[in-house]
C-alpha cells in the first residue's frame, strides 16, 4: 500500500511538471493551429540555461528566471523565424508541422554544439524528506509542485481576467475573425508563443531539477509525453491539458511500480495512441469524430 502512495506522490510531481509543458504546447497550438514538434527544445533551452546560471551564480532563483527567459526567447524566435513566415506564405499546415521538426533538429544540435553530447549532471544539494499524510516527498518535490501550481494559477488568471487573455481566446476561436474584428492577431500570436516559451522553459528547469541530468535530447524525449497530455486534454484547451497531465503523470508513475520502469514511457505512448484513436478531441470532449467531420 505504501508503494502505491509513493507512486501517487511521484505521479503528482511528474504530473505538475508535465502540466506546465502541456499547457505551453496547447497554447501555441491554440493560436497557430500547428502541433509544435520543436516544443521539447523549449524545455531543453530552459534547462541548459538554468544549468549554466546555476554553475555561475549558485542562485536557484536566477536559474529559474534564466530558464523562463531562455524558453520564452526561443519560442519567440521559433514563431517569428519559422511558423509565422510559413503561415504568411500560405503553406499547408502539414508542411509547417514538418518544418517544426526541422527546427527541432537545428535547436537540438545547437545545444550539442555548445555543451557537447555527454550527460551533464545537474545535481543540487540534498533536501530533507517530508512525510505529508501518506505521501513521502522531498522538500524539493514540494517546491516543484507548489511552483507549478502557482504558474498554472497565473495562467488561469491571465486567461480569464486580462485583456490579453480574452484576445488570446478570441484568436484561438478564429484567427481570421479576430484579425478583422480589430484584435492584433499577429501580436497576440507572437506574445502567446513568448509566454508559452516562458512556461515551457520553467518546466524544463524543474524537470532538470527533478531528473538531475541533462542531454541535448532532454526535451525531445519529453515531447511525446507532453503531446499525450495536450491531446488527451483536447488540443488547444489549456485547462484540459493541465488535468490530463496530472492524470498521465499519475498513470505513468503508478504503473512504474508494477512494470519495469523502462516501460513507463511505453505506457504513456500507448495511451497517446489510444486517445488519438478513440478520443481525438480529448478525454473530456463529448464529440465523436466521423471521417470528414
Amino acid at each position: 500500500m505504501d508503494t502505491v502512495f509513493l507512486g501517487i506522490g511521484f505521479g503528482l510531481v511528474t504530473g505538475s511538471i508535465l502540466a506546465l509543458s502541456a499547457v505551453a504546447f496547447t497554447l501555441t497550438y491554440a493560436v497557430s493551429g500547428i502541433p509544435n514538434l520543436a516544443h521539447g527544445e523549449l524545455l531543453t533551452y530552459g534547462a541548459y540555461a538554468a544549468y549554466a546560471v546555476t554553475r555561475a551564480t549558485h542562485n536557484l532563483f536566477l536559474a529559474a528566471a534564466a530558464a523562463a527567459l531562455a524558453g520564452g526567447m526561443t519560442a519567440w524566435a521559433m514563431n517569428a523565424g519559422v511558423v509565422e513566415p510559413f503561415v504568411r506564405a500560405r503553406i499547408k499546415n502539414i508542411v509547417i508541422f514538418i518544418a517544426t521538426l526541422g527546427a527541432s533538429l537545428v535547436l537540438q544540435n545547437i545545444i550539442l554544439l555548445i555543451f557537447g553530447g555527454a550527460n551533464v549532471a545537474y545535481v543540487l544539494p540534498q533536501t530533507e524528506s517530508l512525510q505529508i499524510g501518506p505521501f513521502l516527498w522531498t522538500s524539493r518535490d514540494v517546491t516543484i509542485m507548489i511552483s507549478a501550481f502557482v504558474v498554472m494559477l497565473l495562467i488561469y488568471v491571465m486567461l480569464q481576467y486580462t485583456k490579453f487573455g480574452k484576445s488570446l481566446r478570441a484568436v484561438s476561436e478564429n484567427r481570421e475573425l479576430a484579425r478583422v474584428s480589430g484584435i492584433g492577431a499577429h501580436r497576440v500570436v507572437q506574445f502567446t508563443w513568448f509566454l508559452a516559451g516562458i512556461v515551457a522553459g520553467f518546466a524544463g528547469f524543474i524537470l532538470a531539477v527533478s531528473v538531475g541530468t541533462l542531454v541535448p535530447s532532454f526535451g525531445f524525449t519529453f515531447l511525446l509525453v507532453t503531446v499525450t497530455a495536450a491531446v488527451a486534454g483536447g488540443l488547444g484547451k489549456p485547462y484540459g491539458a493541465m488535468a490530463a497531465a496530472v492524470v498521465l503523470g499519475l498513470a505513468m508513475e503508478i504503473s512504474a511500480i508494477y512494470v519495469d520502469a523502462a516501460y513507463k514511457l511505453l505506457i504513456a505512448f500507448g495511451m497517446l495512441v489510444l486517445v488519438l484513436l478513440f478520443r481525438p478531441d480529448g478525454l473530456f470532449s463529448s464529440k465523436a469524430g466521423g471521417v470528414f467531420e
Binding site: 500560405r90 503553406i91 526541422g102 557537447g116 511525446l224 516501460y263 470528414f292
Partner: protein, 329 residues
C-alpha cells in the same frame, strides 16, 4: 581511396532504396510518417537474426537461423510490411494528418524502447553483430574485391526497385494514390476508398524500408538501438524534399546530394574545443536549415513530380503549378 568511394556509394544506394520507399508514403499519397526508420531497423534486425545463427551465451535473441541472404531479405520485408499493416490499419483509419504523424512518432519510440529493453527479442541495447557478407560463402572474394560486388548487388536491387516503382507510379494505382493526396473528398466522391489506398501505400513503402534495412544489415555487419532514431527518418525526408517529392529520380538525386555528398563533405569539419560531436552537430544543423529552406522556397524540390502528357505531337503550354504545398487547408 577507391575502397572509401565504394563504401560511400553503397551507403547512397541503400539509402536510395529506403528513400524511394518513404517517397511512396509521403510523395505519392502524402502521409507524413515518422515511424519509417523503425521499419528499416526492423528489416536490419530480422535480416540479422535469420542469418547469423547462434552467438555465444550471454547474447540472446529470437530465431537465430542460418538462412541464405535472399530468404532473410524476404523475411525482413515481410516483417516490416506486417508491422506497417498493423500500425497503418489503426492509424490511417480516421486520423488527421498531424495526428497520424504523431502516432507514428509514438510508434517508433515505443519500438525503440521495447527493442532496447526486452533483451530476448534482439539482444536489447547490446544489439546484434556477426552478419556475414551475403553470397561470399560461395564467391570467396577477397576483402578488396567484395565491396565492389556488394555495391553491384545493391545497385541491381535499386534498379529493380526503381523500375517497379516507375511502373506503379505511371499506373492507375499510382494515379489513385495521388488523387487521395491532392483531394481526399473528391477521391471518395469518385469511389476511392481513401483508407485502403493509403494502407496499400503505407505497407508497400514499409516493405521497401525492410528491404533497405536487410541490405543495410549486410553493409553494417552489426546493429544496436543507439544506431537509429526518429532523426534518421528526418534525414531521409531531407533527401526527398531536396530531390523532389513524388519523383523517383528526384529522390535518388536527393539522397546522393544530401546523404552522400553533403554528409561526406561535412565529415571534414574538424571537431572544435574537444567536443567530439562538433562536426556531426554542424552537419545536422545544416541539414535542418536545408529542410526549412527547401520547404519554404522550393517545396516541389529540384526535380518536380513528372506530369503525364496526353497530347500526341501537340505543343501544350507547360506552366508549373505552384499550388502544391501552398494554399492553407
Amino acid at each position: 581511396m577507391i575502397q572509401y568511394i565504394a563504401s560511400v556509394a553503397t551507403e547512397g544506394v541503400i539509402f536510395s532504396i529506403m528513400a524511394l520507399g518513404l517517397n511512396v508514403i509521403w510523395g505519392w499519397v502524402g502521409d507524413f510518417d515518422i515511424a519509417f526508420y523503425g521499419y528499416v531497423a526492423l528489416g536490419v534486425y530480422m535480416a540479422m537474426v535469420t542469418t547469423i545463427g547462434r552467438l555465444p551465451a550471454p547474447d540472446q535473441y529470437i530465431l537465430g537461423w542460418h538462412l541464405p541472404f535472399p530468404a532473410a531479405v524476404v523475411i525482413a520485408m515481410a516483417t516490416a510490411a506486417l508491422l506497417a499493416l498493423g500500425v497503418g490499419a489503426v492509424a490511417l483509419r480516421k486520423l488527421r494528418a498531424s495526428y497520424f504523424a504523431i502516432t507514428t512518432l509514438a510508434t517508433v519510440l515505443m519500438l525503440q524502447i521495447f527493442i532496447g529493453n526486452y533483451t530476448p527479442l534482439f539482444n536489447g541495447y547490446n544489439g546484434l553483430y556477426g552478419m556475414e557478407q551475403p553470397f561470399n560463402g560461395v564467391l570467396n572474394l577477397s576483402p578488396q574485391v567484395y565491396p565492389f560486388f556488394f555495391l553491384a548487388l545493391c545497385t541491381a536491387v535499386l534498379a529493380a526497385v526503381y523500375l517497379v516503382l516507375e511502373r506503379l507510379s505511371n499506373s492507375p494505382f499510382g494515379r489513385a494514390l495521388r488523387a487521395v493526396r491532392e483531394e481526399e473528398r473528391a477521391a471518395a466522391a469518385f469511389g476511392r476508398s481513401i483508407y485502403t489506398l493509403k494502407l496499400k501505400a503505407y505497407v508497400l513503402g514499409a516493405a521497401l524500408g525492410g528491404l533497405g534495412g536487410a541490405l543495410f544489415a549486410a553493409y553494417l555487419g552489426a546493429f544496436n538501438p543507439t544506431a537509429w532514431s526518429p532523426i534518421e527518418t528526418l534525414l531521409l525526408y531531407a533527401a526527398i524534399f531536396v530531390g523532389g517529392s513524388g519523383n523517383n529520380r528526384g529522390v535518388i538525386l536527393g539522397v546522393m546530394l544530401v546523404s552522400v555528398v553533403f554528409q561526406e563533405i561535412t565529415r571534414f569539419i574538424p571537431n572544435v574545443g574537444g567536443n567530439a560531436s562538433f562536426s556531426s552537430a554542424v552537419r545536422e544543423i545544416l541539414i535542418g536549415i536545408l529542410i526549412l529552406v527547401t520547404m519554404r522556397y522550393r517545396i516541389q524540390g529540384l526535380l518536380p513530380e513528372p506530369r503525364p502528357k496526353d497530347a500526341v505531337g501537340e505543343a501544350v503550354a507547360a506552366k508549373p503549378y505552384a499550388g502544391r504545398g501552398s494554399a492553407a487547408d
